[in-house]
Amino acid sequence: MVIFGTALLAGCYLLGVLLGDILGALIGVKANVGGVGIAMMLLMAAQYHMRKRGLMRPETEKGVTFWAMMYIPVVVAMAATQNVIVAVKGGPIALLAAFGSVALCACVISLINRAIRRTGAAAAWQAGAPAAELE
């Protein structure tokens, strides 16, 4: 049943966010520390074990993959609800600070990724295939 997949996803999400909150409280931070990341790892682990035992039926998988595919539309909705006015009105400090940090980080990302490319760590991944179309 499709709902089993979605319920599994919901369970992992809630447990992950809960653990993230507890972790934040433990180290004295007023924020959720990696809750979504923890939830992702829980889902990966749950799926791995359920697939091994043959519990992950195609129908059940659909309950998860639907939400994974809804991801881009949700991001578009998120973009449409950003406070773009504040960003534009932030003036030169906001613009320069943001632009400077993005530019610097892009250069560092480029450096690191060129370095790991040279060590051949990334060779296994077949690059170049375009992402699935949205339709």
Partner: protein, 254 residues
């Protein structure tokens, strides 16, 4: 007739949002195919269109939630809110190849650390260049350059004034938007074409909204790898901002 239609939309906001986003994505795909010959990814155009609509919505209503402040499009706030975004990000984990993720775990940590410290330094330097000397203001603006959540959380913890907080949030929002827009443009330069690279990117670029939208517009298969790391970014920033980073700035400027 039109009144009735508007009434139905206002009564069924979330469903209306699904339809609106569907139309935005459809038009964006058409533009991508026919105007750019497929060179620009449809979702990159869709995210840009979303931002443009958010700007327009903000202009019309004078409020803070972009298009969602128009009653007709109120459902966008739920559809694009943190709950749905995080739920869908978690769902993308079902596509992660565990071996690929394991290979780059430590790279993700290095990326996270650099992605917290480097933007902070840039933010503080810019604030100093514009004449700020107060360690609280410097730290808050620097923290805003990490993400727009770390900024206000740090500011609130160390007692920043509201105009500095607003500036800090603005810095973070501009950063998120820049990451959304420029990730597909700079993907080649950043060698962003494999899971390990996406994890390094997720740590360094930080801001979950920027990373997730940017990767979605570059190559959807990379989204879970980047997001897996980026979700720890805000937590690490909130941890370091009011503590280590503030103390460091206090030692230098105070």
């Amino acid at each position: 007739m039109l009144d009735k239609f508007m009434h139905e939309i206002a009564e069924n906001q979330l469903v209306a949002a699904f339809a609106v986003v569907g139309i935005i994505v459809w038009v964006s795909n058409l533009l991508a195919r026919h105007l750019t010959g497929g060179r620009v990814h449809g979702s990159a155009i869709a995210v840009l269109a979303g931002l443009a609509l958010a700007y327009w919505g903000g202009l019309v209503t004078g409020k803070t939630k972009g298009m969602a402040d128009l009653t007709m499009f109120g459902g966008l706030a739920l559809m694009g809110g943190a709950m749905m975004r995080d739920f869908c990000i978690v769902a993308t984990a079902s596509e992660v190849q565990i071996d690929e993720a394991r290979k780059a775990g430590w790279l993700g940590f290095i990326g996270l650390f650099l992605g917290t410290v480097l933007p902070f330094i840039v933010g503080v330097a810019v604030a100093m260049a514009f004449g700020y000397t107060d360690p609280v203001a410097l730290t808050t603006i620097g923290a805003g350059a990490i993400t727009y959540i770390v900024g206000p959380v740090t500011g609130a913890a160390i007692g920043a004034s509201s105009d500095v907080m607003a500036l800090s949030i603005a810095t973070g929002v501009v950063k998120a938007i820049l990451v959304m827009v420029f990730t597909p443009v700079l993907a080649g330069f950043m060698r962003l074409d494999n899971p390990q690279a996406a994890m390094v990117f997720g740590g360094l670029a930080g801001t979950v909204s920027g990373v997730s939208a940017g990767l979605a517009a570059t190559d959807r298969r990379l989204v879970p790898y980047g997001a897996l790391v980026a979700t720890f970014h805000t937590g690490l920033g909130c941890l370091m901002g009011p503590s280590v980073l503030f103390l460091a700035i206090k030692a230098i400027a105070g």
